[in-house]
Amino acid sequence: MKIKLELFGVCREFSDQDYLNFNFDSEIKIKDLRKKVESLVNKKFPENKNFLEMVKKSAFSSQNNEIVNDDFKLDKNQTISIIPPIGGG
């Protein structure tokens, strides 16, 4: 199963592209994806604890653009977004 994670705000720093791609063997929950992102950030930016903190504080939105909780299931190929702490206006 392929999950494309669109990046916004500070999370754009995680990649030169606007997204990250993940492959999973079976169904997962948002909390599993969050762990994957944390692991990637830890490996890529070991000195930057702020990035890790931002992932922990981020929400995720489904392909229907709804904010979803950590138990939301992902069971097919899809594109979702990571929503780090916001600050418009």
Binding site: S61, I83, I86, G88
Partner: protein, 150 residues
């Protein structure tokens, strides 16, 4: 009546004139224009501009929900709102957001406008990267979205 949009600042600019055309109504005795602009300092640094990032689809959805919430909670008469937020680079003094509202009476427009901007701060997925004089750009920390209230 309601209008909202995310404006790519590299292609067009937010203007009061466009908002004025939209909210003008003979049914309303009060109108109010709120502008958010880029100021020259933050956290003891000299700010030269801000780059705004936006999840456009969710931003527009959020604006519409905030407008509907305002109508339900504030019991407004003849409410009209025009909300636009910039994305991309906005230089010092540039407009980042406009909230133009009109209602039957003056007290309502102050409440209406304040409600919209405060809810945007809490719920709308927009991010700021500040540019400084002589220092590295920084993404501002922001506030986590409350999943239970989203």
């Amino acid at each position: 009546m309601f209008h909202c949009e995310v404006i790519d600042n590299s292609k067009e600019k937010i203007t009061i004139q466009k908002a004025k055309k939209f909210i003008e109504s003979q049914k309303c005795g009060a109108s109010l224009y709120f502008l958010g602009t880029v100021r020259d300092h933050n956290n003891d640094k000299t700010v030269t501009g801000i780059t705004y990032d936006s999840h456009d689809v969710m931003v527009k959805k959020s604006f519409k929900e905030i407008y509907e919430d305002a109508i339900n909670k504030l019991k407004l008469e003849h409410p009209t709102a025009f909300v636009e937020h910039a994305k991309g680079y906005v230089p010092l003094g540039g407009i980042s957001v406009i909230i133009a509202v009109a209602c039957k009476h003056r007290a309502q427009v102050y409440e209406f406008s304040r409600f919209i901007i405060e809810e945007i701060k809490k719920k709308t997925p927009i991010w700021k990267k500040e540019h400084y004089l002589g220092e590295e750009t920084t993404w501002l920390e922001g506030k986590p979205i409350d999943i239970n209230k989203a």
